[in-house]
C-alpha cells in the first residue's frame, strides 16, 4: 500500500512501485528529484529503469493523439537551428524549469509570434529603452595596428580606435562594451553578473540600422558568462541589447532588454 507522500514510499522500500508514476510525469519536480537521488546508487536501479522504459513504450503507443502542425513550423525550427549554428554554440538543452514564471512563458510565446510576423519589429521592441544614448565612434583610426595576438577578441580590445564603456546590469555586476570601428566589431564582457535564472540564458542582439528585426548574436550561460563575446558588424548596428531568454536562446527576443547600448559612428 502506498503512503501519502513519496518520501515515505522511498523510506519504506517502494521505489520500484513508483516507476509508473515517474514515467508518467505524475510527480512534482521536487519528488522527481527525490526519486532520482534515491535511485542513483540504489540496488533497484536497473529494475527501476526497466520499468520506467516499459511504461514509456506503453504510453508512446497507447496515448497518441495526432494533429497536423501548422505549415511553416519546420521552417521556423530550421531557421533557429541555422542561427544557433551561426552564433555561439548553444548550451546543453535542458527541460524548461517548472519554476520559470508562467506569465513569461505566455508572454514569450505571443512575443515570438508577433516578431515572426512583423517586419521592423525591432523599433517597437526597443521602444521602452529607446532613449539609450549613443556611443560616438568618431575619429576612426585606420587599422594600421596589428595585434600581437591573432585572437579576434584581443584584436578588438587592442585596436587603436577602441572605445570602452561599462554599464551596470540590473541585479548586480557590469557589462563592458569595447567597440572598434576599424575591426567593425565589438566585444561584450560581463563582470560580476549573476547567471540568468535556471533554464534561462543571457542573449546578445544587435539592432540593425535599417530597423529590421534584432539579430541574435549568441547566448551566455553560467559557464560562458565570464568570457568575452565578440560581435562583428559594428557598422551596420545601431545598438546592442541583452535579454534573458530560455536556455538555447531564441530566434527573436521574447523579453524586454535588460540593457541597451546605442552605438553610432
Amino acid at each position: 500500500m502506498f503512503a501519502n507522500d513519496i518520501a515515505t514510499d522511498l523510506a519504506e522500500g517502494r521505489v520500484l512501485e513508483l516507476a509508473e508514476l515517474y514515467a508518467l510525469d505524475a510527480v512534482s519536480d521536487d519528488e522527481r528529484a527525490m526519486i532520482d537521488h534515491y535511485i542513483k546508487d540504489a540496488p533497484e536501479r536497473p529494475e527501476f529503469l526497466e520499468r520506467v522504459r516499459e511504461t514509456r513504450e506503453t504510453l508512446a503507443v497507447s496515448f497518441a493523439p495526432e494533429e497536423e502542425p501548422p505549415a511553416g513550423l519546420f521552417d521556423d525550427i530550421l531557421e533557429r537551428i541555422t542561427k544557433d549554428a551561426a552564433a555561439q554554440p548553444v548550451a546543453e538543452p535542458v527541460a524548461p524549469s517548472v519554476e520559470s514564471p508562467a506569465v513569461d512563458d505566455l508572454a514569450a510565446a505571443r512575443m515570438r509570434r508577433e516578431e515572426r510576423t512583423r517586419v521592423g519589429g525591432a523599433r517597437r521592441w526597443i521602444v521602452g529603452a529607446a532613449a539609450a544614448a549613443v556611443i560616438a565612434l568618431g575619429g576612426i583610426g585606420v587599422g594600421a595596428y596589428v595585434s600581437a595576438q591573432n585572437d579576434p577578441v584581443n584584436q578588438v580590445l587592442q585596436a587603436q580606435d577602441v572605445q570602452k564603456k561599462s554599464a551596470p546590469v540590473p541585479g548586480g555586476g557590469t557589462a563592458t562594451i569595447s567597440a572598434s570601428s576599424a575591426k567593425d566589431s565589438f566585444v561584450v564582457l560581463m563582470d560580476g553578473v549573476s547567471p540568468a535564472p535556471e533554464g534561462k540564458v543571457y542573449q546578445l542582439w544587435t539592432l540593425p540600422k535599417d530597423g529590421s528585426a534584432p539579430v541574435p548574436q549568441g547566448t551566455m550561460d553560467a559557464e560562458t558568462l565570464s568570457k568575452p563575446a565578440i560581435v562583428k558588424g559594428l557598422s551596420s548596428a545601431s545598438s546592442v541589447a541583452i535579454t534573458v531568454e530560455p536556455t538555447g536562446g531564441s530566434s527573436a527576443p521574447t523579453t524586454d532588454p535588460v540593457l541597451v547600448v546605442g552605438l553610432s559612428a
Binding site: 502506498f2 497536423e68 556611443i135
Partner: protein, 238 residues
C-alpha cells in the same frame, strides 16, 4: 559626456530578477492567460488522419534517421519531422490546448532532438518512446507553469473533457496495433483510465489527481500504477 552611454530599463529589472516582477504587468498577463484557457476550445476539431504504419517499422526508420541527424544531416531531420510531427504536435495540443503554446513546445522538442540526437541510446528505449517522453515533458512543464498562475479548475476541466477522442484507436482503427491498444485500454477499470488520463494529459501530479477526484492519495497512486501495468502486460511490452 562619455563616449558611450547606457540606459538601463527599470521595467526590465523583473527580467533579470523574476521575484520583483511589477504587479501591473503580472495582472495584465494573467488576464491574458484566462482568456487563453477559457476561450480556446478544448476540442481542436477533427484532425486529418493518416495511417502511420506500425510502430515497429516506424522505430526502425527513426533509429536510422536519428543517427544521421546526430551527424548534422538536415534532410534526415526533415524526414524525421515529417514522420513524427503529427504525434509531437498532437501531444502538445492535447496537453496545452492553446495552439500557439503548442507550436512553441513542438519547436522546443525538435530543437532538443536536433541537439541531442547523438545522445539517443537505443538500449534505453525505442526512438518513438524517447521522442514522446521529450514531447510530454515539454508540454507538461509548460502547462504546470501556466497552471501555477491561473485557475486550476480550468485545467481540470480541460483534462476531464472529451475522454476518448485522443486514443490512438479512434484515429486509425484499421491498424492492428491500434486494435490491440483499444482492446487493452478496455481492460483497465474506468477509474484507472480516468486517473492515468488526468495525469498524462492534464499534467496533474498524483496528488492533484486525488484532489480533483476527491479520492485518497494512496488509492490514486495504486490506480495509476495498476492501470499502466495492466496496459503494459496486455500489450506485451517487454
Amino acid at each position: 559626456m562619455s563616449a558611450l552611454q547606457t540606459r538601463v530599463m527599470t521595467a526590465s529589472q523583473s527580467t533579470a530578477a523574476p521575484p520583483t516582477r511589477p504587479h501591473d504587468a503580472a495582472a495584465f498577463k494573467r488576464d491574458d492567460i484566462c482568456w487563453t484557457v477559457m476561450d480556446i476550445p478544448n476540442n481542436p476539431g477533427p484532425p486529418v488522419f493518416e495511417a502511420t504504419g506500425s510502430s515497429t517499422d516506424l522505430n526502425s526508420q527513426l533509429a536510422l534517421l536519428l543517427e544521421l541527424v546526430a551527424a548534422g544531416d538536415q534532410q534526415a531531420f526533415a524526414e524525421l519531422y515529417r514522420l513524427t510531427s503529427r504525434r509531437v504536435f498532437g501531444m502538445a495540443r492535447r496537453v496545452l490546448i492553446d495552439p500557439d503554446l503548442s507550436e512553441d513546445a513542438t519547436q522546443e522538442v525538435y530543437l532538443q532532438v536536433w541537439q541531442g540526437a547523438a545522445k539517443f541510446d537505443r538500449a534505453a528505449g525505442t526512438p518513438l518512446a524517447w521522442l514522446m517522453t521529450i514531447a510530454h515533458r515539454r508540454a507538461i512543464d509548460r502547462v504546470r507553469a501556466v497552471q501555477a498562475a491561473t485557475d486550476r479548475e480550468a485545467k481540470y476541466g480541460a483534462a476531464s473533457q472529451d475522454p476518448d477522442r485522443d486514443l490512438v484507436t479512434e484515429e486509425a482503427d484499421t491498424n492492428l496495433e491500434a486494435e490491440a491498444v483499444s482492446r487493452c485500454l478496455g481492460t483497465l477499470t474506468d477509474t484507472q483510465r480516468e486517473s492515468v488520463r488526468l495525469a498524462y494529459y492534464g499534467g496533474l501530479t498524483y496528488r492533484e489527481v486525488a484532489e480533483h477526484l476527491g479520492a485518497a492519495v494512496p488509492t490514486i497512486k495504486s490506480r495509476i500504477r495498476d492501470g499502466l501495468l495492466r496496459l503494459k502486460t496486455c500489450l506485451g511490452v517487454g
